[in-house]
Amino acid sequence: MSTEQMYATFYVEDIFFGVNALMVQEVLRSQPMTPVPLAPPEVTGLINLRGQIVTALDMRRRLHLPDRDASKPPTNVVVYTDDGPVSLLVDEIGDVLVLNGDDMESLPETVDRVQRDLVVGVHKLDRQLMLVIDLDKTVRPTLVG
């Protein structure tokens, strides 16, 4: 018996990520952003999503990757969380893939600690690997200094 799982996929600095598609509310192009002074570095700011205020987290910062080129606007992947929607800023959005959940393997120990923390496992696709994001951990607030 196979457990089919739908993944919404995206790229962050050429790394291919997948997240449970059922947890994705919507995908939006770059939105006007209000920065929040004093906020943790991965918080890019707040966006007005049809009257709802949504916190935007930069996945590059969250994964401790170098900042994105300012000329390339990020894409918003808005996901459901217990505290309302949160937007993940990614470089580029990919297709929705249906994969067998049982095929997921755990990440090798050698992967960077932060990235390993936020990833539950890896899917071996024909052309590349897809890292499955642990959404809960990713949107969990880091402590404000």
Binding site: V43, I47, G51, I53
Partner: protein
């Protein structure tokens, strides 16, 4: 199964409401132990819970309520008297029921705790009645034989009426004896009706009646709070959309659009008010807990306290009610624990043995005022002073200068507690300061009035609602921020000009002289860690009230005030003190709402408040010591004279033709009264006439001087200026009315002794030369 859940849910909601009422009723009962209506009502509540619990299969709950019911029935019948002991046990039963209800709502079962001790205690109380003892001993068994209840002529499983269909379910709980007595359950009804008829109360509407009450002719319905919150959110959105439309229609010249948007404006405002009203709850819903709290506490402290309430129906937004619940409880506990004295001491002080705690709530200009007063010992000023000095909150000198009121306010300082012995109720140093912070967090304020030996009153003022507030929009570094209007004092533009020194520095601390007082200055950009522009010549300063303190917040731009919808900040921003929330502006962008208290804390303004207030006072004293004063310099018959500015209430000009005579004195009609005119020149023995010779057409320059309800107009030739006079080097004079002369504004000036002047005016006919 879903239906079942709903029934359980309804049972929980209803039972909790009833239990809240029970607490109150029990306390009332202690004051009036023979009140049959009260006992009957309590009995009915417990009976209802027992019945439904049995029907839903919550055995533990049923067995506890059953014994409780037995005891209550004895009390109601008068076979047993109400004692404090019995009430305490029954109250513990209420707590147990509450605990079980919580378990049911969390886990769906009434738990494993059998409450044997409680049951035993309740049974023992019952046995006090004598002959029935044996029957009640059996009742301690976890599953209650319903037939027993029947034998005691109390209707047991009444809910049968209300829910005829699922009756099959609880059947296994019902033990055999019932089946013997009444083989088919519905048949039980007539059997149940019979004892009801001879009961002392109209019980016909006892249980089924409650079902009818909620659905029947009543005009109110139960609505889920979540739905109301959602509605409120939607109205918030609507307000924002309205703001956008208004902004847009203002730019267009389309009369139809203007009319429609005006209509939209009106409807939105009304809708907003309406929805806001649905979220209002009477403050009584929080207060209803207090009689029980006070009773328990009073018993444990060996005190007697009566609680009085006024204005329970005063309504407040739910969220605010939630926020003040704990602070209020704390204040009430504090009053009983520390405020009200032991009966013996009260009698010695000539007060009734029973203390009174009064709760009062009322609306006052868009705010709700809650007063909590007791007739206890009040704040012991000496003790508070000593303690505050011990704790290093104030210095000895400051303590000596503080008024009683200021001393009373010390109880709000962090780390302050006057309780000599630390009780488990209060006195752990986390007390009134927490109350104060919590109230201030929701935009309220706390004040205390205390009369030593007579009691104290704590006044809490809170806004009606938090959801939509007026706010001032400012910008810094290209982004907009909202400052809640309640925190605003004034807006000023600070420029370095010839007359103003602009922003100055005391050490590193920037300050601005605002009407003779030093106003600490904070750059918003610096607080927010943004690039700041301290060197700009002109600054926009928003004067803000935070705590008891004012400070000036420098911003780049000040825009308009707007009604904003407050939205909470997400969990990623916890720990950032500077923001209270977010909002969406008319153009759809998100703006942050500033938390002025947080900003003041970050700017290290409030924490030093005590210190600064101290130095400020010292400054005033020092100034007085140096005999420095602000004076009004004017000319009288060619002579430069000075009058302390503090004595002059107004400066006026009167045309000469206004002068009239009354009782031989020259007067003018001034603000509906007669103002007696006194010539300063003639008072000083100077010849006034030539001073006036060419000035008959000129209006009179008059200083209005106010003292003890008497008002005089001092006539002078010319008002020169307001100056700071330094009286360290003075020349004493022997002229009457002029104690000394001083150099003011580089010229010799006579200081007028106005007191002597006034006295001589009252005592004798003053030389009233014609003007």
């Amino acid at each position: 199964m879903e239906d079942m859940d709903e029934v359980v849910q309804e049972f929980l909601v209803e039972s909790r409401e009833n239990l809240d009422r029970l607490d109150r009723e029990f306390v009332e009962l202690e004051n009036d132990p023979t009140s049959r209506p009260l006992l009957a009502s309590i009995f009915r509540t417990i009976h209802t819970i027992k019945g439904t619990a049995g029907f839903l299969g919550f055995d533990k709950l049923q067995s506890v309520t059953h014994v409780g019911e037995n005891l209550l029935s004895l009390l109601r019948d008068g076979s047993l008297g109400v004692t404090s002991d019995r009430t305490s046990t029954l109250l513990r039963m209420v707590d147990a029921i509450r605990a079980m209800l919580d378990l049911i709502s969390d886990h769906g079962t009434d738990g494993d705790e059998p409450y044997l001790e409680l049951i035993e205690e309740l049974t023992e109380h019952c046995q006090g009645a004598g002959k029935r003892g044996s029957a009640y001993a059996e009742a301690a068994a976890p599953v209650v034989p319903v037939v027993e209840a029947l034998a005691d002529h109390e209707p047991a499983v009444v809910p049968v009426n209300a829910h005829p269909v699922p009756v099959a379910e609880p059947a296994p709980v019902v033990p055999a004896p019932v089946a013997e007595a009444t083989p088919v359950v519905p048949v039980a009804e007539p059997t149940l009706m019979a004892p009801r008829a001879d009961a002392d109360h109209p019980k016909a509407n006892e249980h089924p009646g409650e079902q009818v009450r909620s659905g029947g002719g009543d005009t109110s319905i139960r609505v889920d709070v979540k739905l109301l919150d959602q509605l409120m959110n939607l109205v918030g959105e609507l307000v924002l959309a309205r703001n956008q439309i208004l902004q847009f229609s203002g730019q267009q010249e389309d009369p139809a659009l203007a009319a429609t948007s005006q209509q939209l404006n009106l409807i939105t405002t009304e809708l907003q008010e309406g929805v806001m009203k649905t979220r209002m709850q009477p403050i009584g819903s929080v207060w209803s807990k207090f009689p029980r709290v006070v009773r328990d506490l009073a018993v444990s402290c060996g005190k007697k306290v009566r609680i009085e309430m006024e204005g329970e129906e005063t309504e407040l937004d739910r969220t605010i009610l939630e926020a003040i619940k704990d602070p209020l409880t704390h204040v009430v506990r504090n009053s009983v624990d520390h405020g009200i004295e032991e009966p013996q001491r009260r009698l010695e002080a000539g007060k009734p043995a029973e203390g009174t705690l009064r709760l009062r709530a009322y609306h006052d200009g868009g705010q709700v005022v809650i007063e909590i007063s007791d007739d206890g010992g009040g704040v012991n000023c000496d003790k508070v002073r000593r303690k505050a000095i011990d704790r290093g909150i104030i210095t000895q000198q400051q303590a000596a200068k503080m008024t009683e009121r200021e001393v009373a306010h010390l109880i709000f300082e962090p780390g302050f507690s006057t309780a000599e012995k630390v009780s488990n109720i209060s006195g752990r140093g986390v007390g009134m300061d927490v109350v104060k912070t919590n109230v201030e967090k929701i935009g309220g304020s706390v004040d205390v009035q205390s009369v030593q030996g007579r009691g104290m009153t704590l006044t809490v003022k809170i806004p009606l609602t938090l959801a939509i507030i007026p706010a001032l929009i400012v910008s810094v570094d290209g982004h907009r921020y909202a400052i809640p209007q309640v925190n605003l004092v004034e807006l000023i533009r600070v420029e370095r000009t010839e007359t103003s020194r602009g922003i100055e520095f005391v050490g590193d601390a920037p300050v601005f002289r605002l009407r003779g007082r030093l106003l600490p200055i904070v750059w918003l950009a610096e607080i927010l860690g943004l690039p700041s522009h301290r060197e700009t010549a002109a600054q926009n300063v928003v004067v803000i009230q935070a705590d008891d303190r004012q400070f000036g917040l420098v911003v780049d731009r000040i825009s308009d005030t707007e009604e904003i919808v407050v939205k909470p900040l997400g969990p990623h921003f916890k720990g950032i003190e500077a923001f209270a929330g977010t909002t969406i502006m008319g153009d759809g962008t998100v703006a942050l709402i500033l938390d002025v208290l947080g900003i003041a804390r970050q700017g290290a303004l409030v924490s030093e408040e005590r210190h600064r207030r101290g130095t400020e006072e010292e400054e005033v004293h020092e100034r007085r010591d140096r005999d420095s004063q602000t004076v009004l310099v004017c000319m009288a018959a060619g002579q430069r004279v000075a009058i302390p500015l503090a004595l002059v209430s107004r400066l006026e000009e009167f045309p000469r033709n206004m002068i009239e005579k009354a009782a031989g004195k020259e007067v003018v009609q001034y603000r509906g009264r007669l103002l007696q005119l006194v010539s300063l020149a003639s008072f000083l023995g100077l010849y006034a006439d030539h001073g006036y010779s060419d000035g008959h057409e000129r209006a009179l320059q008059v200083l209005v001087y106010n003292e003890n309800d008497r008002t005089f107009g001092l006539v002078v030739d010319e008002i020169v200026d307001v100056m700071d006079a330094d009286f360290s080097a003075v020349e004493h004079s022997d002229r009457p009315g002029v104690p000394f002369s001083a150099v003011i504004g580089r010229r010799v000036t006579d200081l007028v002794d106005v007191d002597t002047l006034i006295r001589s005016t009252i005592d004798g006919p003053m030389a009233m030369s014609s003007f």
